[in-house]
């Protein structure tokens, strides 16, 4: 079984510790930390781990990319890292060269069309669009079930600002009148694959954020004194933190398993679907349960702008809704198992 490289995990973690410490970021209202961090990430090749070197990537492999995303989640890093990774991957799928540098974001442009060499249509809730140089859009190609990928410069589009619960940019991008930088044909089924990769990316980010919530909450319980002892000495608090640990563990296990399946080219379609759907459902559930427990342990101080907790809980509540919420993936998963019938439940789960 392939494993992620500890060196990459440590490098990303150290980088985020030094340049994106959540409390520091939370204290400063401005965003000066973002550009220097992005420059560093690019210099280390961490924004292009999913693309082989031939196409301008860092060629570091699937699992390493997901580990960087987990670390980014652990620090609540508000940068288009997942988006740039996925955009790079899409461009490579179409045999296109990546731009030499620059942040990329990504949209599934169901209502975007290419007429000749001019784009028309809009993509909504595009992550960090206003902060990116490039936008990669998957558009229908006119041939049934096949798609194209379009690389457009954000500067040529019209942006209307929007935000998710965490205040991160989720902008509306009107591409009408823009000319693509390049266009490529995508293999069949790529749209579904994009949803799958996005779901696992968010699952990894959520697993990272839950890890942070657990660490922060355990530390708080050890330090906060009430009734003449650290509150972590009370059984009620211990049991709540045990539940938080359980939710983190489940999210971690589910995300790890899905990432592993994506990295293993021998994985069957069915295995991938079950792993990814389960991961997105389970991490989404854990995101909410975990956020609520962390807030409860912290009491009033955790419900302030000044405290760092909201950076994680608000991202968790946002990320669980992206690339398909729990209900979307669960209804598909349930329908699959219902159609296959009761006697197939166990054989199916044990076959993957």
């Amino acid at each position: 079984m392939s494993k992620p490289e500890q060196l990459i995990i440590d490098t990303a973690t150290r980088l985020f510790e030094d340049m994106a410490d959540p409390q520091t970021v939370n204290n400063e209202d401005e965003l000066n930390w973002r550009e220097p961090l992005w420059t560093e990430l690019e210099a280390l090749g961490l924004t292009r781990t999913w693309v082989c070197e031939t196409y301008g990537g860092a060629g570091a492999g699937v699992l390493n990319g997901f580990e960087v995303l987990r670390a980014a989640g652990k620090f609540a890093v508000s940068l288009p890292l997942a988006e740039t990774l996925m955009a790079g991957w899409l461009l490579e799928q179409a045999g296109l060269q990546l731009p030499p540098s620059g942040a990329m974001t990504i949209a599934s442009g169901v209502s975007v069309r290419l007429n000749g060499d001019t784009l028309a249509g809009r993509a909504d809730a595009v992550p960090f669009a206003r902060d990116c140089q490039y936008l990669v859009v998957v558009i229908p190609s006119g041939v049934a079930r096949s798609a194209q990928v379009v690389l457009a410069a954000v500067a040529n589009c019209t942006i209307v600002h929007g935000e998710n619960l965490a205040g991160e940019a989720r902008d509306s991008v009107d591409l009408t009148g823009a000319h693509p930088v390049c266009v490529g044909e995508l293999p069949l089924g790529i749209r579904a694959q994009l949803d799958a990769v996005g779901a696992v990316a968010r699952s990894m980010q959520m697993a990272g954020a839950l890890h942070a919530l657990l660490d922060i909450s355990v530390q708080y319980a050890a330090e906060r004194v009430a009734f003449e002892r650290p509150i972590g000495k009370f059984q009620a608090i211990q049991h709540n933190l045990a539940r938080l640990a359980g939710e983190f563990a489940a999210a971690n296990a589910a995300a790890n398993s899905a990432a592993y399946s994506l990295s293993d080219i021998s994985s069957s379609e069915q295995a991938l679907f079950i792993e990814i759907a389960s991961a997105k459902v389970r991490t989404g559930q854990a995101a909410h349960e975990g956020a609520m427990i962390a807030h409860q342990v912290h009491g009033a101080i955790g419900f302030t702008r000044e405290h760092v907790l909201h950076r994680f809980s608000h991202r968790l509540w946002s990320w669980r809704d992206e690339y398909g919420d729990e209900n979307t993936w669960a209804s598909r998963l349930g329908a699959t198992f219902a159609t296959a019938g009761a006697d197939q439940m166990w054989p199916t789960l044990t076959a993957i």
Binding site: I237, H239, A242, A245, G246, A253, N256, L333, G334
Partner: protein, 392 residues
């Protein structure tokens, strides 16, 4: 602290999957021969010595143990597959389950060579049944409050006291008992407990009485010791060493499939009642149940992988048990509501499916309370996890 909580992606190796096919074929033969019925939640007993001997003849008891003790030196992951298939089929494993899962490993680590060579091969052949003598009337979760005494006498140990909730004692050949050999120290209340091998059928002074449970089954027993004498070498490990020995034993007990599959047939029958095209709301709830189950299984396999690597994942296995037992406990109620709403909305369900579902639901509902009590209560498990987080 939470650096220690690891659930690496782990996949069962190909040899484990090949074994799965063999186990399924074996079970199909046994079912066809009428030995047991996987669709009957109310089967009176899952205790069948002859069945256990046939399982043993296949080399599926004590699979991971050294060959010179009758084992097969196969991996924890292969054992995992055998275990989950037998559980899912509701095969009658009670005659050998406890010996295989924990009593044998305790003997292997702490018993004399003579006991090991005499007993372990017989466990592997499915010839011996074990039970666990830990709980007492005044000590369940509080293991270290055990009072049943073991007094050193000439040639051995004299046992006096009572054990309670001893599952399967009425059929067991041996008990692994936890007895007090000295008073707890003022600075260490874990001090003073020792593990012993107790031959239940051949030792005078032992009286076993049934305690019928709320599901009307005879599983629990009270075991009374009145000057029961044990040979010297039936002491296991160090005098006073039980607290350390028991902790690692509990890691084995904690995280297998038996901790989340006990009500699984409710889910299987629910799927049958939902039909092939359920309403999207039903699909979503079913999908959540599946996602949760799949995740539990992945976590359980991950822990089996850690055991295979020689680790002692006490926190991880407590987490799996806590999540798993809460899930299997909540399953009947969630299934009940889904099925009832389906029925109210006029969804078509075959009468046969409905009856089978109702039978599984009734059984699961009645046993639900015990699932977060047996083998370590939810409260104790969460305390163990909290300790792992550095809070205690």
């Amino acid at each position: 602290m939470s650096q220690a909580i690891q659930f690496d992606a782990k996949r069962l190796p190909p040899e484990a999957e090949a074994l799965r096919g063999e186990v399924r074929a074996f079970l199909a033969e046994e079912i066809a021969a009428g030995i047991f019925d996987p669709h009957d939640p109310n089967s009176e007993s899952r205790f069948n010595r002859e069945f256990s001997q046939r399982v043993g003849a296949r080399g599926w008891i004590g699979m991971t143990w050294p060959k010179h003790y009758g084992g097969q030196e196969r991996s924890y992951l292969e054992r995992y597959v055998v275990n989950e298939e037998l559980l899912l089929a509701r095969a009658p494993t009670r005659a050998h389950f406890t010996a295989d899962r924990q009593s044998g490993p305790v003997l292997m680590r702490f018993a004399s060579e003579s006991i090991k060579t005499h007993i372990l091969p017989r466990i592997c052949r499915g010839e011996l049944t074990f039970c666990i003598g830990m709980s007492e009337p005044d000590s369940g979760s509080d293991l270290f409050a055990a009072k049943t005494r073991a007094e050193k006498v000439a040639g051995g140990w004299r046992i006096n006291g009572r054990k309670l909730w001893t599952s399967g004692a009425h059929r067991a050949d041996y008990m692994i008992g936890l007895f007090r050999t000295s008073a707890p120290a003022s600075d260490n209340r874990r001090h003073g407990l020792t593990q012993f091998l107790v031959p239940l059928k051949t030792t005078d002074g032992i009286t076993i009485r049934p305690v019928i449970n709320a599901a009307r089954r005879h599983d629990f027993n009270e075991v009374v010791f009145e000057d029961a004498l044990l040979p010297e070498d039936h002491q296991l490990g160090e005098v006073g060493g039980a607290w350390r020995q028991a902790t690692s034993e509990l890691a084995y007990e904690r995280s297998g499939s038996e901790r989340f599959l006990e009500t699984i047939h409710v889910l299987i029958e629910l799927i049958r009642t939902l039909g092939t095209e359920p309403h999207v709301r039903d699909s979503a709830e079913l999908g959540k149940l599946i996602a949760e189950l799949h995740t539990l299984r992945r976590m359980s396999i991950s822990v089996a992988g850690m055991l295979a690597d020689g680790k002692e994942p006490v926190v991880e296995s407590s987490i799996v048990k806590d999540l798993g037992t809460n899930w299997e406990q909540a399953l009947p109620e969630r299934a009940r509501n889904l099925a009832a709403l389906g029925s109210l909305s006029g969804a078509p369900i075959s009468k046969g499916s409905r009856e089978q579902f109702e039978a599984e639901l009734a059984f699961a509902t009645v046993i639900a309370p015990k699932l977060t009590i047996q083998g370590g209560t939810r409260e104790i498990l969460r305390g163990i996890i909290a300790r792992g987080l550095g809070l205690r």
